[in-house]
Amino acid sequence: MVGKEILIAIGIPLLAFSIGISLMMFRRKIAARIQRRYGPNFIQPLIDIFKLLAKKGNITHGIMYDLGPIIALAASITVVFFIPMPGMKLMTGSADVIALLYIMVIGSLATALGAGESANPNSSIGVARALTLMLGYDLPFVIVIITLVLKYHTTNLYAIMQAQAGGSWAMWVLPLSAIAGIIVTYGALGEHPFDAAVAPNEVATGPMAEYGGKHLGLLMINHAFHIYIELALFVDLFMGGASNIFYFYAKMFVIFVLIIFFDEVLPRFRIDDAVRFYWRWPTILALIGLIIVLVK
């Protein structure tokens, strides 16, 4: 049985990584088609990561600079084990939704510390913006999660997923919360209109400004995991997981395409406007959803 455990331990992150990378590939192609051009090779993200990891003249600014992307990637791999995949409970018995929210923070904290050590004010500004944005979207996010927990009387993610099996998705039952949840996913992924933290023209890509070579490669792998985590969390919470991996991927793909469509046409919020926006409309929608669940 130990062999099976090891197989799962290696296979799950690889599966998550491949899902994340394939979504990144689709993203560049779809974005290019929206802009009426051909776009890069389909497997371009993989080539990019290979090129970055194979760079020879890497630099470092100190031990914390190295540890930033390392711990971020390790934390992302850890989170993958606590989000149930179709048919597999993974480790949701050890950490429920509230614990999951906190485990997801380890990665951002590590990137922030690494970016701070790179001694570049652009990175610091980027991190300050990213943290402010996190404070912004956490308010509707928490309200949405509480709504779900109250509706299904459990905080175990697997149980929430199971309770929606067979068509009664939380998306149809709690539509307002689902809308708030999607808007939160924009912010969490760092897509337009909430990408003030990694704005290339304003703050030189924020935390990634001083990172190059293998560190940037690790950060891109981390981004692929991050896409998987956010979308899988949304699908598990609102669309009832899936019965097998293909339906799971299809649901994630649909949500991601929706996100790309808005991403490519919208400009960027200023960071305090973004926080004000999050504390106004998504919060109101989520609160109405919460009150509906409380009253019933």
């Binding site: 560049r28 290019a32 802009q35 009426r36 051009r37 051909y38 776009g39 890069p40 090779n41 371009q44 080539i47 990019d48 290979f50 090129k51 194979a54 760079k55 020879k56 003249g57 890497n58 630099i59 290339p200 023209n201 030189a204 890509t205 990634m208 400004a209 001083e210 990172y211 190059g212 070579g213 940037l216």
Partner: protein, 170 residues
Amino acid sequence: MDKMTEEQYRAISNMLRKRSLWMLHYCTGCGAMELPPTMTSRYDMERFGIVPYVTPRQADILLVTGYVNTKTLRRIVTVYEQMLDPKYVIGFGSCPINGGVYWDSYSVIKQLDKYIPVDLYIAGCMPRPEAIITAFRHLMDLVDKGKADGYRRYKENLDYYKKNQRKVLG
């Protein structure tokens, strides 16, 4: 790792690297006008895998677009040294080749190759996007064959380059 595997690794690595060159979005002179048309939908550059990136730490190609005076040369040298190996320099326009329209100026560098190693020149004032894309394809060819080794030349002949830089920059 015996020599055979080393060569195979290098061949595969060059083949993959040529497909994902990242350009430094650093407009040093008037030639940068031709970059936006190359990046956008009509003469799409992204289909070759070339994407503009912001900081020298993240980029592979330095485009010296247009004329270079001594003030700019100082910055270009700093940026070039901040880039990570392997890195490539493309001289853009006629000015880095022989001074271009500023051939008799006192403050414009006439021959860029004396100060930083240049892999490729694009002639023209300004080169059209089609010429730029042809140049990128030529660079990808050089990378594939392993001939684009400006960074190695820089490291080996550092004294020569530094002597020239110091003569001009003071």
